[in-house]
Symmetry: none
Subunit: 225 residues, 2 copies
DNA sequence: ATTTTCAACCAATTTCCGATTGGTTCGAGA
DNA sequence: TCTCGAACCAATCGGAAATTGGTTGAAAAT
């Protein structure tokens, strides 16, 4: 009669979590206490708790306890926390996954004046007299694309991504007095992106952005590897 | 000769922060140690530190210490700000742009145990006895896909997006005792996504996720007019 | 007189250690 | 075969103690 034993413990448990209001936010007593109070072995109790957890009625965490209801989510996007967990390779991966789709949206939604601004920004980047200024205009170009998507949420996510990127690659700023070479690979890639957006070609914009970021990634690899 | 004394301490300090690489992230020794090591009174040292802080060369915080460089910014992405600016349509647009690419990464990076978890979660969603529980398992499924991407930054961005989504669609939860119909459109769509991930087919995973979200979007439109 | 120094204290923060808790293993026993 | 009890593990929590920048006041030095 294994099934009987299990069912009995289960129903007693259900009564416990449903019947009484748990004093602390949905938290129920530790397994050892609960086992004794229900006059059951800890093993059987844990088996029943596992069932309830599979049903989504309770959730557990080592060191915290067992709780009734839904598992609470992290509602704060702490950029510092992301920076702690991530690394430059992941950041590049996230950019390659995310920014091409932003560019696709931009191609479909950009206003003519935004397209003009994109072109202007691109030229400014090409004429930048130093690497630092070039990167400044490059950043602005990528953010303008986010603005051109006309989706404030996408823009917010892009800003978050950039904040993490800046934090992770901190100190890697090139501050040489040299200017980027006239045949810098990014120039043509930027042009392709902007033209695709101007042509309202979402697929081409996404593709050009992906190629651009992959190019940046490979150059990063060369520089450091 | 007040000025002289001050200047001497200042220059010695500047040498200290500029000359040697600080072992811990820009942190320099506590004032009491530093004062002794520089053979200066703590008062004089603090005066010099105040000058450096005014120049932005160092920053200090009670209980933490004194650090070289710029004070790190308050880096919590303000979800509330995004919620203020956006709307449900934008949220859906952002999901359609973002989540398919996350699914693509998941297809390439998921571990076998994560794939098993995805399948289990999908079944749980199909068997959910109420709409609320279904949405709970649906949310978990989408987040599991984010975890399976093995990119903590993508996961962080996904969590941010979900936090905004929850805030925007708050109060729209269906809590009817009815269960989702057995032929609910999402069931087959979920299956397609999970199978594409299991087959390591990134393109198919992205495509299935996009179709799924578009389907959700159209049903939202129908429901709310 | 004015400034510097020193000691003591305050409040914010970190660090450390012990207690708690879910997760796991193992052998005895029903 | 399953259950029970015990022991142990790793993650977490809680609080005491140490650390640290900030402040005050009296003594000492100039």
């Amino acid at each position: 009669m294994i099934e009987d034993r299990h069912s009995v413990v289960l129903s007693r448990l259900r009564d416990f979590v449903g019947g009484a209001e748990l004093p602390d936010g949905g938290r129920l007593p530790p397994e050892r206490e609960l086992a004794e109070s229900l006059d059951v072995g800890r093993t059987a109790l844990r088996k029943a708790l596992a069932t309830l957890q599979a049903e989504g009625v309770v959730w557990r965490h080592v060191g915290k306890g067992t709780f009734a209801g839904e598992r609470p989510m992290d509602t704060v996007a702490d950029i510092n926390a992301m920076v702690q967990r991530t690394n430059p390779l992941e950041v590049m991966g996230a950019r390659i996954a995310f920014e091409p789709e932003v560019a696709r949206c931009a191609a479909l939604n950009a206003t003519p004046s935004q397209i003009a601004e994109l072109r202007s920004c691109m030229v400014k980047a090409q004429q930048a007299p130093t690497w630092r200024l070039y990167e400044q205009w490059d950043n602005r170009l990528h953010r303008l694309i986010g603005e051109a998507s006309q989706n404030s949420l996408l823009l917010g996510l892009l800003d978050t991504l950039n904040a993490v990127r800046r934090a992770v690659t901190w100190g890697r700023l090139r501050d040489t007095p040299v200017r980027p070479p006239a045949d810098h690979h990014s120039f043509e890639e930027h042009a392709r992106i902007v033209e695709a957006i101007a042509n309202r070609d979402g697929a081409a914009a996404a593709d050009a952005m992906r190629k651009h970021l992959r190019s940046v990634e490979s150059h990063l690899r060369d520089a450091r590897g």
